[in-house]
């Protein structure tokens, strides 16, 4: 039985003396402790920043993208990623710029190829005017984050950082918009998983007995079903004439089936163990009624585990949506998601000629990786009372 001092991972930003730091530690609530422990995990911190950027882009996609994702530019079909130059024809250093591309035809393959017209350079500017848009379908505007701006005679000088696809659409703009679907499908999915998982896991853990048995066996059956075939058959049952939003929600529900099962198990397991804790018995003897005991005494005990479980199931949903749409079973054009974009990259010819169409893969990998790092960090910090 020794005197207690604040551990190293609990620090305050202001320079405080040891006694103040100890007292702050003594008065730190569970969430404060979780936060300070989470901050140790540098990878998770970085993941949070990266994910923050990805979601910012997804929210403000209209602004961040130089082009409307559905804007087909015949004059630039299949264009390679725009070479962004900083040294001009005379050899002097300039702010990044592009030349106007001139379309020509490859004599052998008859594919469009592009040469640069070096007579005039067009600097890349920020906050330029471009395609009109309505932010979230509500707020009209036409300022974009970057581009070459409006040109006289309405000609477009494109900055295709990741190239254009076979219909002349900017790949990067489409990727930014794809984030809206692919990254949010996971979020809505976990909301559904949360409700089902908490409810069913809570019932199983709280009542035990037959209810517990039934729910657990249903979960066992569900998770032993092969995932992709199950998704495929459910998605194949999708009527083709449904409005896009409905399709999107249906796909989300399908994906969350596997998410809630792991959460339900976590909730049930934690409930069963917490029920036996002395402090729960003490609470009953104090006169607290069951509802209060669940919310004040038991739920806080596994709230952080719920967050971890949900965070870890998001990558699965992102990958699931990508896989389904890639196979043509989930979302379709004109909705844009990473999977839908990858449909264009399904044949060998396209990939060999327009390899930049595979860029959505990088973004999927990035998002999934970041969620995994985040989940790792949260898991480590989930129980701050276990040293």
């Amino acid at each position: 039985m020794t005197t207690i001092k604040a551990p190293r991972w609990f620090s305050k930003t202001k320079k405080v003396d040891a006694a103040q730091k100890d007292e702050a530690f003594f008065r730190a609530s569970q969430w404060q402790l979780v936060w300070w422990k989470f901050r140790r995990h540098k990878l998770a911190q970085m993941a949070m920043v990266v994910l923050g950027i990805l979601y910012f882009i997804a929210i403000f996609a209209e602004f961040v993208s130089p082009f409307d994702p559905l804007h087909r530019m015949k004059e630039f079909t299949g264009m390679t990623p725009s070479p962004i130059r900083i040294i001009d024809a005379q050899g002097s250093l300039r702010f990044p710029f592009v030349y106007k591309p001139i379309q020509a035809r490859d004599p052998e393959t008859l594919r469009p190829i592009y040469k640069e017209d070096t007579t005039q350079l067009f600097p890349i500017k920020f906050f330029v005017q471009g395609d009109d848009y309505k932010l979230w379908g509500l707020i009209p505007g036409n300022i974009h984050l970057y581009g070459t701006g409006l040109q006289p005679d309405n000609k477009i000088i494109p900055v295709f950082i990741l190239g254009a696809d076979t219909l002349g659409r900017d790949v990067l703009s489409r990727i930014f918009f794809a984030g809206r679907i692919s990254l949010t499908v996971g979020l809505i999915g976990i909301v559904l998983a949360f409700f089902f998982g908490l409810m069913l896991g809570g019932l199983a853990g709280f009542f035990g007995g037959l209810i517990d048995e039934v729910i657990m066996r249903v979960i066992d059956v569900l998770i032993s079903l092969p995932q992709i075939p199950l998704w495929m058959s459910l998605a194949a049952a999708l009527p083709q004439d449904w409005p896009q939003l409905q399709t999107y929600l249906y796909v989300t529900v399908i994906l969350s089936i596997f998410g809630w099962t792991s959460l339900a198990r976590t909730v049930r397991g934690k409930l069963l163990s917490l029920r036996e804790e002395d402090y729960v018995m003490a609470a009953r003897l104090d006169g607290e009624h069951e509802g209060s005991i669940i919310t004040r005494y038991m739920l806080p005990g596994f709230a952080s585990y719920i967050i971890v479980s949900l965070t870890i199931s998001i990558p699965g949903m992102i990958l699931g949506e990508t896989a389904l749409s890639f196979l043509g079973l989930g979302l379709q054009s004109p909705i844009i998601s990473y999977g839908v974009m990858l449909q264009d990259a399904q044949n060998l010819q396209t990939i060999s000629q327009l390899p930049w169409l595979l860029w959505p893969v990088a973004f999927v990998v990035l998002a999934v990786l970041m969620f995994n790092f985040l989940g790792d960090g949260l898991r480590d910090a989930a129980d701050p009372y276990v040293t």
């Binding site: 039985m1 020794t2 005197t3 001092k5 551990p7 190293r8």
Partner: protein, 344 residues
């Protein structure tokens, strides 16, 4: 042959952590005599467990033996009449090396507090004992199994031929502890280290195990280093006692003197703070208050000047006890104490 089996001189085992340095063992001098039982008494944080782990070079990282010597006078049987002893400094051995491994389990064994976690749950008792035997002795499996059954019988395990094929979870706490003792003694070690082996047991089982250990000590002629916080158990089993506080030995003497003539204020305070049955017989209806030691065990990262016990000592001498570290003082027949009160 020397009287001392092990001589510990100024042993220091420190843990260098991000928060600071924990001096788990901070300058311990101890002699463990052959065939005798030395009891180590102390509360949590006094370093008794770390010291025993240091003896077997099992200190978990980031702990390290920073200094001192552990001289092991082990017997080398040349022939029947002339048993020599040769010395090896355990602190200088490679903890994973052949020599150290031939000491562990073979010449010096250890028994822990929790028998359930000390044994593998997926191997039978027999497998675990025969593993120790075949590791150190050149016998085949069948002979090892026989020796294992014999060992189980010697620790008075009921039905040893059946228990040998049981798993740890099938046995009760007392039986598991017997199995662990059998594992520790199957190679007839020269010393047994017992770290709180009966703390987790019921009192009647504890009495059985203590009796067993006393009998086995006679049978095997081995030394026992018995670590506990229970002064009653110390009185039962130890012949000599060392009291530890914050990594140092503060008093050491034979068991009778510790109880009848305790010198160090910490020893005295410990004795006064335990409820004693003899008071039940002597007292009248008013309850006797237990004497408590004021304060708490201090923060392990803080290294106080002077005597480590001075903030809690009822007899601390201001200006002396809080500045100067007390030396080891000889007080008569093998009675040493580390306290300024006895410094002439």
């Amino acid at each position: 042959m020397t009287e001392n089996l092990i001589e510990i001189k100024n042993l220091r085992t420190y843990f260098h952590l991000a928060e600071g340095v924990v001096r788990a063992v901070d300058g311990v001098d101890l002699n463990i005599k052959r065939k005798k039982t030395l009891g180590i008494v102390g509360e949590s944080g006094c370093g008794k467990s770390m010291m025993s782990l240091s003896l077997l070079r099992l200190v978990p990282s980031p702990g390290k033996i920073e200094g001192g010597e552990i001289l092991y006078h082990h017997t080398v049987h040349e022939n029947q009449d002339n048993a020599l002893s040769s010395v090896v400094d355990i602190t200088k051995l490679d903890p994973m090396g052949k020599e150290m491994r031939s000491i562990r389990g073979n010449q010096i064994s250890m028994v822990f507090q929790e028998p359930m976690t000390a044994m593998s749950p997926i191997l039978t008792i027999g497998r675990q004992i025969t593993e120790v035997i075949t590791l150190h002795q050149k016998v085949n499996q069948a002979e090892a199994r026989n020796r294992a059954i014999e060992m189980l019988a010697r620790v008075r395990m009921p039905k040893p031929e059946r228990v040998i094929d049981d798993y740890p979870f099938q046995l009760s706490g007392g039986m598991r502890q017997r199995a662990v003792i059998a594992m520790a003694l199957c190679c007839q070690p020269q010393m047994l280290i017992a770290d709180e082996p009966t703390t987790a047991l019921d009192v009647t089982t504890e009495a059985q195990i203590l009796q067993l250990m006393r009998d086995l000590q006679e049978e095997f002629g081995m030394a026992i280093l018995y670590i506990t916080h229970n002064l009653g158990v110390i009185a039962e089993i130890a012949e000599e006692v060392a009291v530890m506080y914050l990594g140092k030995v503060v008093e050491q003497t034979d068991v009778k003197s510790i109880f009848y003539q305790p010198l160090h204020p910490y020893t005295r305070a410990l004795l006064q703070s335990i409820p004693q049955l003899k008071d039940v017989l002597l007292r009248h209806d008013d309850a006797r208050r237990l004497q408590t030691i004021k304060g708490m065990i201090p923060d392990p990262y803080q290294h106080l000047k002077g005597c480590p016990f001075h903030p809690r000592c009822p007899e601390a001498i201001l200006g002396v006890c809080d500045t100067v570290e007390p030396k080891v003082i000889q007080m008569g027949e093998g009675h040493i104490v580390r306290c300024h009160l006895y410094d002439k």
